[in-house]
């Protein structure tokens, strides 16, 4: 093997700790059966976060309306289960397809303008969809949400139990499959051209990359993945409400990436884990004021820097020389 080959392929090769991590994650519903519900939530949030990372971290598109696709996936999967048939995998596919189509349509709105326009446009799209779900109450149940979504057994065999073990295993399985696909994508020539567009759009154009088309594809794929996350939520909770389109979802998932780090797929996973555990722990200690502590944590994280925060041994070293992390 040659030097350049090795250096290039290093990024795409699976490392031992990744395999261990995924084995541990997949075993979690059985190792921690009493925590299956939160495992499920973490898996869904992680999937939502890595889908945002594809456009935010890898392509440089800022979005404050990623919940639009999450909600689209949630409502489509819930409606499919209610009106057509209760099979979870088919419902998941319906959620992904509908969110992908919506993403393809919306992708034209993020190709032009500055970051600020993109923030506003993505935010606007999510608000429009939320209002649509609210107004079309004959279909969606309006503000009451879509109730009575009953799921059939997974693969025709595994019933969704109250403890959430099946749900957690299902969400983790879907997360793993989509993670593997996304991981391939970001370490491919396609992924490299996305990073090139993120780093320098002018030059990306000047080396022949069809910038608009690439960004549209990335945005559409990310939308589909967010749709999968939404579908999982609706299916595993048996419920879809306007909450799936809410602004706080788009904001939370961005916080997750800020916590875990952008442009690195495990950032979304780690961020989801930290965010959910913190939310869970804090809200059991102070049910009313937990957002205060999350806020404080974020301020500290951003001011101190993630690198330094996870390496406490560097805190007291070379402070006067502006110590590097």
């Amino acid at each position: 093997m040659n030097l350049a080959d090795t250096a290039l392929l290093r990024a795409s090769r699976w490392r031992w700790w990744e395999v261990l991590l995924w084995l541990a994650a997949l075993a979690a519903p059985w190792l921690l059966p009493s925590h299956a519900l939160i495992v499920n939530e973490i898996a869904i949030l992680a999937l939502f976060a890595i889908s945002l990372d594809l456009i935010l971290g890898y392509s440089g598109i800022v979005s404050l309306g990623h919940a639009a696709f999450f909600g689209m996936g949630a409502y489509s999967a819930a409606l499919f289960a209610k009106l057509v048939m209760p099979d979870p995998l088919l419902g998941l596919a319906v959620g992904i397809v509908s969110a992908t189509l919506l993403g393809a349509v919306c992708s034209v709105t993020v190709l032009r303008g500055t970051d600020l326009t993109r923030l506003m446009v993505t935010l606007g799209v999510a608000l429009i969809l939320m209002e649509l779900a609210n107004k079309l109450d004959w279909l969606t149940g309006g503000a009451d949400g879509l109730q009575g979504v009953v799921m059939g057994p997974l693969l025709g065999r595994f019933e969704f139990d109250l403890g959430g073990q099946t749900a957690a295993a299902y969400s983790l399985g879907v997360l793993l499959v989509l993670f593997v696909l996304l991981r391939r994508m970001v370490s491919s020539p396609f992924g490299a051209t996305l990073k090139a567009i993120r780093d320098n759009r002018l030059r990306a154009m000047a080396i022949g990359i069809p910038v608009g088309r690439r960004l549209a594809v990335a945005y559409t794929v990310a939308a589909g993945m967010a749709g999968a996350a939404g579908a999982l939520l609706a299916q595993t909770t048996g419920f879809a409400s306007l909450d799936v389109f809410e602004f706080h979802r788009s904001a939370d998932v961005m916080l997750v990436l800020v916590i875990g780090g952008v442009g690195w797929l495990y950032g979304g996973v780690a961020g989801a884990l930290v965010f959910k555990l913190m939310q869970d722990t804090l809200s059991s200690i102070t049910p009313q004021y937990w957002t205060f502590w999350i806020g404080l944590f974020l301020v500290v994280l951003v001011l101190v820097g993630r690198e330094r925060l996870v390496r406490p041994w560097t805190w007291f070293r070379g402070g006067t020389h502006g110590g590097k992390s």
Binding site: A4, D5, F190, G191, T193, A196, D199, N200, G208
Partner: protein, 271 residues
């Protein structure tokens, strides 16, 4: 007798660009012959950047047409022109800071091979493309820094990478926009060598203020003044053209009256 336009690889015919009432490019005709070493010179504000933007498709001309290898490309988008072999470098480095030179070149070479949309294969999975990257890294003295993020590279190395990226696009026509601008003296020689060693079959249009480089490199020159072609010819005729001295060379005091291009070139080589 064939016209220069018929044999040209890149040809701009009667290009005109108006910004409101201002004519930035006025009836510019420029023919770049196969394997040319053609320099485009002119004082600041002569419209060199506008002309580059017109040729590469960043701007649409208000009149005139551009052909590349006999094909009309006036209406094509920038990336389509690149895919047909018209590539430029930038006066101010335009690099991909988070990527290493190796990743950058692998990405560019893959894109050039039409693999830029492929997502199931890893970047670097094709060893023949990796060999091409190694060759480019070698040629541009970047092998020693190939695995470092571009943002930490020294300015001279960044400048080399700037040109290496363009060459990785396999240009038929290369527009070099002030390749040695801002390069410190110590790193200059390395850069001049690589510019001199560009493949002979690539036609080069050099936009440059550095007269040493212009006279040592170019075999043909076009002088642009106020958006209009003042004159075109070989270096000797340009150096002895009194109008050129008056409007341009006299200005920057590079050529004293009576100094021939030959003397200029010798000075460039020894200096």
């Amino acid at each position: 007798m064939t016209s220069p336009q018929a044999t040209a690889v890149l040809s701009a015919q009667a290009l005109e660009m108006r910004f409101g009432g201002i004519v930035a490019t006025n009836q510019v005709t420029l023919n770049l012959q196969p394997g040319a070493r053609h320099a485009l010179i002119g004082p600041n504000g002569a419209g060199k950047t506008t002309l580059i933007n017109l040729l590469t498709g960043v701007l649409q001309p208000t009149q005139g047409r551009i052909t590349l290898l006999g094909e009309d490309i006036t209406q094509l988008a920038p990336h389509q022109r690149v895919n047909r072999g018209l590539v430029r470098t930038f006066q101010i480095n335009q690099l991909f800071d988070s990527m290493t030179p190796l990743e950058t070149l692998a990405m560019v070479v893959s894109q050039r091979q039409g693999l830029g949309g492929k997502w199931w294969q890893a970047l670097g999975a094709r060893s023949e493309l990796n060999r091409r990257c190694e060759q480019l890294l070698e040629q541009f003295h970047l092998s020693s820094v190939m695995a470092q993020p571009t943002r930490v590279l020294a300015y001279g190395k960044r400048r080399l990478l700037e040109i290496a990226i363009a060459l990785a696009c396999e240009p038929r026509v290369l527009l070099l926009d002030e390749p040695v601008a801002g390069v410190p003296a110590g790193e200059r020689e390395e850069l001049l060598q690589t510019v001199a060693a560009l493949p002979a079959d690539v036609s080069v249009l050099l936009i440059e203020h550095d007269m040493d480089l212009v006279f040592s490199f170019a075999t043909r020159m076009t002088v642009l003044v106020n958006g209009t072609v003042l004159t075109e010819g070989d270096p000797d005729s340009i150096a002895s053209d009194s109008r050129v001295k008056a409007v341009y060379l006299g200005d920057v005091d590079v050529l004293a009256p009576g100094v021939s291009a030959q003397a200029m070139r010798e000075a460039a080589q020894h200096g």
